[in-house]
Subunit: 412 residues, 2 copies
């Protein structure tokens, strides 16, 4: 039996998360499958940002650093994120960007394993994680190397040369979910530390950093946490590693007493040492709204719906697009993937542009990867049907071949 | 002849900048003298931020990276800041925070002077500039040192050991204006490079980086540029130094082709290499509004009014508060100071708190510094009178001695 649109309407009606969609401002004529890149706008964000601007900044001005909690906002939001990723109070700060946070935790991890020079990363992981590490390695001039490993060879590659295993929990291109617990265990058994990038997993599946005994983690808030374009990142440092090695971007917010204005640096000895300078308060406040909404929802329901959305999308592709050369590169088994399905096609770039023109928003990752992300708080089951039918029309008519879909753009 | 309030009313009426005040949302019951710490809210910012959130994020979603210019916003705003600081297009980006930007330019400058190990800084300069440099030095492990110098001994201290002279153009505590041209010349003559922190000068006095042949500069946008709490910083790299040494925070936005998702880092060879990761777009957009307003105003008029405000404030202090132990630590000569007057008093902390209670907002910098900043776009001449009279009442009645003004607060 093929899936019908009414089957999906039925699922939408029964969906225990379906009240959340009304809390977002999503245009009616858009089918949005890019929440894995930029989450949608929570309506409450509009109100909150206006409150911050008009009342906290406009009326209370400089006093708001104390009276509106600006000064501790990175920690306040960090403690909320902690609940989403299985960390404790005082283990997470919301600060800077993901890449800068990787720089901080990698720098600290390498100091903790002075005699080891190898950093393991997955060979096709999100490039900025590697780029920022290459910058750090060049700066340290201590002979560190990144060893790029195939996904299936990671466990075997964890030897006693390895200082650090640094991986993204959900692969940005393929949607593969890595086994945090097993890899972390293996790393620790070999005397290595682990850093997990949660950018594509936080908010969309249960994460248990402390239960997995993870050392460090980073992530961003603008994907499934709906924090807004370029909203601040976060980082996690296990309590057992705090107060030992100093992260090197030692701005005044990481100082023991910032407002003592001392001449010499003295580190905070807790998670606050992983702050650096003054943070963009409006952006932080916007991010907090998205995080609050995910906290209200049941993460088990989110994960269940996410897996179901992915499974149905795969079936619809198989049932309606079997004639076209669209390979499904994401694991068929729901437990092995995050909240996206990726299709590969040599014409992927143009197909994604053609879809945009008919209101279906996915994205493209070079060289051939079309990504469709599912955000259980606002993606409807029927959206899958409607998108696949539009994709079918594009494929049947070769619409994507038009020149206007084949012009390069800056951000894909 | 003592100054009278009607003299000041007359000055307000004749002030060619007086139309700008109506473009800010400033509470009627506040006399705000802390624009040197957090600038006031431009009304246009409210509109612009709502447009970014509702239209660009809410409606256009991920497409806005291209269609709303998000992807190039750091450069777009950087080019606007360039006009305020005497730089050219392609020499400034608005990105990250001041401290992180110091890290980047110091790292590059030290690479350019491999054989020199001394960084000169003024001994009482803004601490984060030194803290972040100490973090960099510790990370490099190449034997660099910061040599802290008294203001008047800087020129003599520039020897051929010096790699880098790193100074704030206007001193955050005292308001002293440093001689950018002479110090830069002396540094270059000795083979050293210069970094100027413009945080307390940009937007309030004419700055000529290129005419002074400056190498690098950094600054923040939340003071006299009215960009909002914690709004992004900026950095300037002279064209002649671009494309040579790599700044080490090598996130994907500094990569030659970010959306090629290559495995290995390849630097941009222009100012874009000084970007790092994804930027907080809402915060950038808010900052742009404040910068646009300063660009519309005549910087010569701003500087003229700024000096006059400072001079009148000093006279009012002398005419009304001579009996109290309030030392004026800012230069009396207008050409030697930025846009603040600082008074020192062992009771400074409590006096500033007592002033806040009657609606006069200055701030306190440990151990004894009371700062009063003047923002010519919104500070009125009569504000000076009204503030000094309120201060006089507090001093006459010893109001500041009350316990409620002597409790510690986080952010001073």
């Amino acid at each position: 039996m093929k899936i019908t649109r009414s089957d999906l309407e039925e699922l939408d009606n029964r969906d225990p998360l379906n009240q959340y969609r009304s809390e977002f401002n999503i245009p009616e004529d858009i089918l949005y499958f890019d929440g894995n890149s930029l989450g949608a706008l929570p309506s409450a964000t509009v109100h909150r940002v206006n409150e911050v601007i008009l009342n906290e900044w406009g009326s209370n001005l400089i006093n708001s650093w104390n009276s509106s909690g600006w000064y501790t906002l990175s920690e306040t939001i960090g403690n909320k994120i902690a609940k989403l990723i299985g960390a404790d109070d005082g283990e997470v700060v919301c600060v800077d960007g993901t890449g800068l946070n990787i720089n901080k935790v990698h720098a600290v991890a390498l100091k903790m394993r002075k005699n080891r020079k190898v950093i393991l990363m997955e060979e096709t992981g999100f490039p900025t994680d590697a780029y920022i590490t290459q910058g750090l390695i060049d700066q340290l001039e201590q002979g560190h190397i990144i060893r790029f490993i195939k996904k299936d060879e990671i466990l075997d590659a964890i030897t006693d040369e390895v200082a650090l295993v640094s991986l993204t929990q959900v692969h940005y291109k393929t949607g593969h979910l890595f086994d945090m617990k097993t890899i972390t265990q293996k790393a620790h058994a070999a005397g290595a530390l682990v850093v997990w990038d949660l950018s594509h997993s936080a908010g969309v599946l249960p994460i248990e950093l402390n239960k997995c005994n993870v050392d460090f983690a980073v992530g961003c808030t603008y994907k499934f946490l709906n924090g807004g374009p370029g909203s601040p990142g976060y980082l996690y440092v296990s309590k057992r590693h705090q107060g030992k090695q100093i992260q090197p971007l030692t701005g005044w917010w990481s100082h023991k007493k910032p407002f003592a204005f001392e001449q010499n640096y003295r580190p905070k000895n807790d998670i606050g040492q992983f702050l650096s300078g003054t943070q963009p308060i409006i952006a932080l406040a916007a991010a907090e709204v998205g995080i609050d909404m995910v906290l209200r929802a049941d993460i088990a329901l989110i994960r269940g719906k996410s897996i179901e959305l992915g499974g149905i999308f795969i079936r619809l592709i198989q049932e309606h697009l079997i004639d076209y050369d669209l390979d499904i590169v994401t694991p068929r088994n729901g437990a092995d993937r995050g909240s996206q399905i990726s299709l590969s096609s040599p014409n992927g770039f143009a197909i994604i542009q053609a879809l945009k023109e008919v209101g279906v928003i996915g994205d493209f990752r070079s060289p051939d990867n079309m990504r469709f992300g599912f955000a259980p708080l606002y993606t409807r089951y029927t959206d899958l049907w409607d998108a696949v039918k539009k994709l079918q029309v594009i494929m049947e008519n070769d619409t994507w071949r038009a020149e206007r879909f084949n012009n390069p753009i800056d951000v894909t």
